[in-house]
Symmetry: C2
Subunit: 217 residues, 2 copies
C-alpha cells in the first residue's frame, strides 16, 4: 500500500539518495535483509528516523524481520524516479561539463545526455563519449521537437543566468546548476544547485577549529 507522497518534506527526500547508495553497497556484499538498527549504524541516521523516513512512502519493513534489501532498493529507485528516462543537455563543455557527460553511471540511471553546448570554438565539434559538443547558438533549434527535461549549467558565474534564461525558454523542466551563483528561475522549474565551495568551506571551518584547538588547548 503506497501512501500519497506529495507532502513528504525535502529533508526526507534529500536522505533518500543516501539510502539508495547504502542499499546498493549491501546488495554488492550479498546482504539480503537488514534491520533499521543495522542500517542506522551504517548510515548515521537513528533507527527511528529511518523507520519514519521509509514510512512516508508506505511501510516496507516487517516488524522484527527488518527490510528486504533488494526490494527496498528497487522501491527507493522507483520513488526517486530512477526507473524513468530524462533527456538532458549540458551547457558548458569545459572540464566540469565533460566530467558530467562522462559519468556513465548517470546514463545507467536514465539520464540521457543529448548534447553539450559551448561557445568556445575549440570545444565545438568534440565528442564526449558519443555525445556531440554543439554551438550554443544552436541550442534553441536543437531543442525544437525534443522534450528536454534537465538543463545542466556548467558555465562560469557570469554566464549562468543568461544560460538559465535560455534553458527556461526551451523549455526545460529542471535546472542543475554548477555555477557558483544563485540563479533565478520561474517557480515551476525544479532547481538544484551544486555549490562546491559550500562543501570546501566546511572543511576549512573544521581545519581552522583543529588549528585553534592545537594553539589553545
Amino acid at each position: 500500500m503506497k501512501k500519497d507522497h506529495k507532502d513528504v518534506s525535502m529533508a526526507v527526500i534529500r536522505r533518500l539518495p543516501k539510502y539508495h547508495r547504502r542499499l546498493k553497497e549491501l546488495m554488492e556484499k550479498d546482504v539480503t535483509r537488514i534491520s533499521s538498527k543495522e542500517l542506522s549504524g551504517m548510515i548515521g541516521f537513528t533507527a527511528s528516523q529511518i523507520r519514519q523516513d521509509l514510512n512516508c512512502f508506505g511501510g516496507f519493513g516487517q516488524q522484527g524481520y527488518g527490510y528486504d534489501v533488494s526490494e527496498l532498493y528497487t522501491e527507493i529507485s522507483r520513488i526517486l524516479g530512477l526507473t524513468e528516462h530524462y533527456n538532458t543537455v549540458i551547457v558548458g563543455a569545459g572540464n566540469l561539463g565533460q566530467a558530467i557527460a562522462n559519468y556513465s553511471n548517470f546514463e545507467k540511471k536514465g539520464f540521457h545526455v543529448l548534447a553539450l553546448f559551448e561557445k568556445n570554438p575549440r570545444l565545438i565539434g568534440l565528442k564526449i563519449r558519443d555525445v556531440p559538443v554543439l554551438d550554443i547558438d544552436e541550442l534553441e533549434e536543437f531543442a525544437k521537437n525534443k522534450s528536454v527535461d534537465i538543463g545542466v549549467i556548467c558555465t562560469n558565474s557570469e554566464n549562468a543566468q543568461d544560460v538559465a534564461d535560455q534553458l527556461v525558454k526551451l523549455p526545460v523542466k529542471a535546472v542543475w546548476n554548477f555555477a557558483p551563483v544563485d540563479i533565478i528561475l520561474p517557480e515551476n522549474i525544479v532547481q538544484e544547485n551544486v555549490h562546491l565551495s559550500d562543501s570546501l568551506f566546511v572543511i576549512s571551518y573544521l581545519l581552522k577549529m583543529q588549528r585553534d584547538e592545537q594553539q589553545n588547548p
Copy 2:
C-alpha cells in the same frame, strides 16, 4: 566578544557558506546594511533562524539596526577559516580533477593546489594553470617535508579507498571525496563527500512527482 564555538552543530556550520555567498552578492550590489528579515527573504531561512545561527558565534547585529554587510562577511570568512592557507593535492587529473584545479576562486580563498597526481601516463606531465600533474607513485616522496592539509579524491569508485589510504599516510588532515562511494577514514581526519548523484536524484524525484501529478491530477 566571541563565543567559544566548539559546540556549534554541523547544521549551523553547513549554513555558513550560504550566508557567506549571499553577503558577497550584497557587497557587490553595494548594500551596506541588512536586517535579519531582509536576509531571510534572500536566503530562505527564517529571520529567527538567522539570528540564532549568527548568535552561535557571538552577536553581530545590533537590535533594530541590522547587520553591517561587509563586517559580517569578514567575520564569517574568518569563522569559515578563509583567512588561512591550505595546502592541497588532487588525486585524479581527469576532467573533474582538472575542473577543481582550475577554480581560481578556491585559490583566492586560500586553497593552494600543490600538484595533481595521476596514474594515466597520457595526463602525467600536463600543467593545469601552473600546477603540475605528477605520477601517483611520486605522491609519498612529494609530500615529504611538506604539510599537506587537504587531499581531494577525483578518481573512480574502484580506486577511491586506496587513494584515501595513501592520503592518510602522508598524512593529510582532511579528505574531500568526489568518488561516488563512501570511503572509510580514521576519525581524526575531516571528511567531506560530494555525491553528485544525490543532487541529481532529488531532481529526478521532483520530476517524477510532476509526471505523476499530470497523469493523476
